[in-house]
Symmetry: C2
Subunit: 156 residues, 2 copies
């Protein structure tokens, strides 16, 4: 199963960022679950990690909900990734019987290699903030509805 925790968390954060930019202070986990096409439980599991990292803040009780913990331009996609995936590496070595030059050393070698790949991914994600992403989404949206005011075609 392809891992969708990062995509889900990112889409969640973008929803919060959009809501904030439109003057909506906070969203409930039920609203977020609806927007993500999933259930409040999964949302809360992700929120728990995001809250630990300070990326979101939640308020209890009636009228409560979730809001961004920092301004959208102070949260990078790398922050979201690290918060949700933690130290999880892209790959893990296969445990092999130690019998030769390769098998006795390849696990350590591979852990190191995976760490380099993890770094490479994180570097690409640290370049962009939620605010950047929101801008790009606006551009994509404008391109989707061509030229003039009225929308030409239904989205497929």
């Amino acid at each position: 199963m392809i891992d969708v925790r990062f995509p889900t968390a990112l889409q969640l954060m973008l929803n919060l960022a959009l809501a904030h930019s439109e003057g909506v202070a906070q969203l409930s986990s039920t609203q977020l679950a609806g927007a993500l096409g999933t259930n409040p439980s999964l949302v809360r599991k992700l929120l728990s990690r995001l809250a630990n990292a300070g990326l979101v803040r939640s308020s209890f009780g009636r009228g409560g909900g979730i809001r961004l913990g920092r301004p959208a331009d102070a949260i990078t996609l790398g922050d979201v990734y690290s918060a949700v995936l933690g130290e999880t590496s892209l790959w893990a070595p296969r445990a092999v019987p130690h019998r030769c030059l390769v098998s006795s050393n390849v696990e350590r070698y591979f852990v190191d290699l995976a760490a380099k790949a993890d770094d490479a991914v994180l570097r690409t994600l640290k370049h962009k903030t939620l605010a950047d992403s929101l801008s790009e989404l606006r551009i994509l949206d404008a391109a989707r509805k061509p030229v003039s005011a009225h929308r030409r075609a239904r989205p497929t």
Copy 2:
């Protein structure tokens, strides 16, 4: 489940490279399975992809087996990764109901982002060849058996 196809394939290729450097022309899938601590079936599934990419060659019949398709210094880790994982991306977007600026565009946005991350990973893997890896394994091995000739301790 963390994906171990790339690690397994890499360890397989390194075994072939080591065998070749030691004058062993080829290994059978059963031998490879033994070295990897798994079964010949999985090995052959991986070999099928590796063979399609020209990274290994197999000979049929009695005395047959698998050997590298090119010299070890002409095969990068990126070649192995692409052969085994194909176009598989690190992440896939979660399909969300299209209802707002974010939800209507985030899937395309995310596919693009994932492609950038995939590129970053592949770039790090293209720097190293199997021959480079084998050299590094030799260094690790030397570090593991300190100083003088006789081995001091059993590997754990």
